[in-house]
Symmetry: C2
Subunit: 596 residues, 2 copies
């Protein structure tokens, strides 16, 4: 039932983002449109043939912890071998380290395809790429040779080890220690919790990137350093040898995402555990934030992919399932109609389409900002793009996590009782997606990041940059009669959002608790405005293509309808939320804990 909508990917990448321009940049010279399409075609084939078939089975038979080792369905290793052989581990990396230096936008699009088919299996390369990028950015040449190269080749996998049982959202409170040794290495002692991919027997080695404290360093986040801790010590010849003292203390049993092992790891408990400092001491958290920011956009992409899979499955079902009669048909002899003909089912489908394709547009837009920084650009523009990316990151993480989960809920509803059974994929997708508002910074943390930090960056420069981009697209949409009303609406919403942001900034100066109390609502409100923008951009291109008579009319009309749906059914909610935000309501603060 799950199928990839290649037409939408082509529309978003080429018609909306104009990705083909990238081949003019030396770094991406190999990626003309044909090459890009080839990458996605390969991704689709591998995803459908090797990732999708074991997704349900892996969920039903999750990895287990037997004699200190992880046992899991062999199909995961097989699928990742095919993925590795096709070169997908190396997409993000320079040729120098064995990579294929794909445009980030294309890489994200390919990751979306794999995640649609099987998010659990896709997580292993996702984590590996994130860890490898940190080594690429901050490692010595020797560290890159030892760890980065085999990760780019897909032989070593990676993890990020941040949380501890007592320190999740509050990383200031981690206690894992790194004791300096005479040879310049460190001995690691501590426990890490929620480590995805923290153990498995698929890869030759696992490269853990571990946040820890060097004794006598500063308290809080300023005393956190980052360490490379391999599962097996890598010899001079690059071969993984003896076990390092990092051991699996247990597997977490989750509601979804079951195929990705999630672990409690002990460092230095079953023997000495060697680590190498990555970059400079005490800079660990800022390094990790580079990875975290990429991971946050990746989470948004994953949430979108899960909803896309549910949308496609429920759309296929709605076209096939006969049930009920057209409204007003009283004669029981009237044949039943497929449920896609019922208005409420179409509403549930449009809601999914609007969420999925709107969220995908945002994730790809963010990736495109990364790619643009690789071009020959003026420094000022590159700086603006970096600012925008910083501003949009909490939105790209949180909006899909919240509203694509809602889309998965709708997919179940369309299948009715069948959707509630494990015979169909939609209930699993919903369970998988429930993780996304939690990991890589909870929904609440994203709200604080956006309202408490990002919108104030550069004295409001980030919001100004965003407003400039949105208004440019509003102007373009204004040229198209059928989109004028939406363009007006978005312009108004944007102006009001900017005004609200300013008022909250003033309030924050006086009463930070009050101004930040509803940061999560601000996040959702802001997200709706951004997604409306993404829809106006898509609709503008669709309307132009329709007018030109180029492209598939059904497809383009679908884009216009989904845009209309979002502006009519969703965007007005932002106004309601702004009114609440402007009131600086203190209900949540005034509610004393003993009153609960």
């Amino acid at each position: 039932m799950i199928s990839i909508d290649r037409a939408d990917l082509a529309f978003q990448l080429h018609d909306v983002l104009g990705l083909a321009r990238l081949s003019a940049i030396p770094r991406f010279a190999d990626y003309d449109r044909e090459a890009m399409d080839g990458v996605l075609e390969t991704a689709e084939r591998i995803a459908m043939e090797h990732f999708l078939p074991h997704a349900a089975r892996l969920d039903e038979h999750e990895p287990t912890f037997v004699d200190g080792k992880v046992e899991m369905d062999g199909a995961v290793a097989d699928a990742l071998a095919v993925y590795r052989d096709a070169g997908f581990f190396g997409g993000a990396f320079d040729v120098e380290w064995g990579g294929t230096q794909m445009p980030e936008t294309l890489r994200v699009a390919a990751a979306f395809v794999f995640s649609m088919a099987n998010i659990s299996t896709s997580a292993y390369p996702f984590l590996t790429v994130g860890a490898a990028r940190l080594i690429e950015s901050f490692g010595t040449d020797a560290q890159k040779e030892r760890y980065l190269r085999p990760m780019v080749a897909g032989r070593f996998f990676g993890t990020m080890c941040l949380s501890e049982p007592q320190a999740g959202s509050s990383l200031a409170d981690i206690t894992t220690r790194a004791e300096p040794q005479e040879d310049g290495s460190y001995l690691m002692v501590g426990r890490k919790m929620w480590i995805s991919g923290g153990d498995q027997e698929i890869s030759d080695n696992i490269v853990h990137l571990v946040l820890a404290r060097i004794p006598d360093g500063p308290a809080g986040v300023k005393g956190i350093s980052l360490f490379i801790v391999p599962k097996r010590i890598v010899g001079e010849d690059g071969t993984p040898g003896e076990r390092n003292g990092v051991s699996l203390a247990g597997l977490n049993h989750k509601m979804g995402y079951r195929g990705t092992t999630n672990t409690l790891l002990n460092f230095g408990e079953d023997g000495p555990c060697r680590g190498e400092l990555l970059g400079e001491a005490h800079h660990g958290l800022s390094y990790m934030f580079q990875m975290m920011n990429e991971a946050r956009i990746g989470v948004g992409m994953g949430a979108t992919a899960l909803a896309a899979a549910g949308y496609r499955a429920s759309l296929a079902y709605a076209r096939e399932r006969p049930q009920g009669r057209p409204a007003g048909a009283k004669d029981p002899a009237t044949p039943q109609v497929p449920i896609i003909q019922h208005a409420d089912i179409r509403r549930l489908l449009l809601a999914q389409k609007a969420a999925v394709e709107g969220a995908l547009a945002l994730c790809l837009y963010c990736a495109d900002l990364v790619d643009r920084a690789h071009g020959d650009r003026e420094a000022a523009i590159a700086k603006e793009e970096a600012l925008l990316l910083d501003l949009l990151t909490p939105i790209a993480k949180s909006w899909p996590s919240e509203f694509c989960l809602e889309a998965n809920k709708h997919a179940i509803q369309i299948l009715g009782g069948y959707g509630y059974t494990r015979d169909y994929p939609v209930e699993r997708l919903y369970r998988d997606n429930r993780l996304n508002p939690i990991h890589e910074g909870t929904h609440g943390i994203q709200g604080l990041d956006l309202l408490g930090r990002k919108v104030g960056m550069g004295g409001g420069a980030s919001v100004k940059a965003l407003a400039g981009r949105i208004m440019a697209d509003v102007s373009a949409a204004h040229q198209i009669a059928s989109l004028e009303a939406f363009a007006e609406m978005l312009a108004t919403e944007l102006a009001e959002t900017v005004a609200t942001t300013r008022r909250l900034a003033v309030a924050t100066a006086n009463e930070p608790r009050l101004a930040l109390a509803n940061a999560t609502i601000y996040l959702d409100m802001f997200g709706h405005v951004v997604i409306a923008w993404m829809w106006l951009r898509q609709a503008t291109v669709a309307a132009r293509k329709l007018a030109e008579g180029s492209g598939d009319e059904n497809f383009l009309n679908g884009k216009l309808s989904a845009c209309r749906y979002f502006f009519t059914y969703e965007l007005p909610k932002a106004r309601t939320q702004r009114a609440l935000l402007e009131s600086l309501d203190d209900t949540t603060l005034a509610m004393k804990q003993e009153w609960f």
Copy 2:
């Protein structure tokens, strides 16, 4: 982590609904306040000692189908034996048939307690009571003796067999046949799908109530009759004997509610299957709707109970879990605080409290309407109460199903990564609750029922009756200074909702498809107004008690805060939805199926 909030039950039953008045009615003479409290105390004890302990295990090890039989955790039978011995199966029934003729409001409150502890195990008596009530209403004395009495005693369990694989929402399309035999009995032939409790080895017998067609009857819903089909034929002495030809064809494997078997049943495939007509031929659907309406309120109550369990668990966690520091604290040496001190966590707790206690108030209000009909009342008032109950039934089913599911989502969020694991109950509660918008009439069907039928009943008499009740409570709230603004707000919302309803009624006459296209949104909007009413009622009582100095101040302040939360954060959403409804937007109708 799950605990019963007896204080809230006492407040709702006694302070808000004044249940003690019922003991003046002869039918309920045994139920003074002390007796009622005793029932709930017993319910809580049995629920905590016998229902809760196996809830997680039953979910993890769901019933299996082995050699044509259902095998399940023995704790279910043990718990239900204790429940039976305490007389809970008989609560709904007359003393004549072995029941204890409890007030319905008390019975619903007790069911809420059991459902909080373990919804899967609670489902067996829930289904049995529903089926037994139909036999009580429409059966002959012989049928009552044969089936009702052992059901009231908890020896036979019951089911409702409506859906078939090809006919779920569209019952007009069922094809199961009942062939009349010379002895007045029927031979049943067909398949039924989604039958909860459809097989098990706990009870001495299972009494299936089956919708089927007598050959040569009218087509569509007018040709559907209702039959009693026992799993084992009951002998003259009342003992179940030989197997009837109803057989288990398979168990459905669900996302949640796993402890309640859900089955595909064959009738007449493995031998002749005898059935008895219940009531008159061709009236089956209207009979079944009596049960369905009760079941719908029961579904709402169950959804509320699941959210209540999640709320209590997440509240307990939030009070214990240290993480982060107060807003503005920069010094890492500041000790961490329990997360309940963070505004966003309080928001998630208040959202749950507002949903749970608002929804519970509505379910109990509906039950109270049933009880009032048993009093010595003028016929006109009793008729109004029946109308109100009809009108509120789709709300009582759907609002908790939608918004208490959302509450369960919040409970997971509070526990963070821990909430996503099966080590804590909140993920299970969320999975369980996802069923409720689907069964006993989907969310979409409830919307059509409300807007397409219920609000138009008696030429608008039902809405008028509701408005009268709401305005009486608005007047009472107006007397209290701190509630005046909320009273105004509710009065406005109500007036606007009535106006919108009228406009939609006019539109329906001309363009039924257009007027009904957004029936689900109307349902949610209407539900928010009703729940705001329930909150204003609770707040009025709480404010009075606070002023009198009676009752626990913390508890009463909590009620006032939750009321404020609902009016500030939730009720404004109704206005946004009304604007959409009034626009008679046709986005969903205009979207052609080939555009998806």
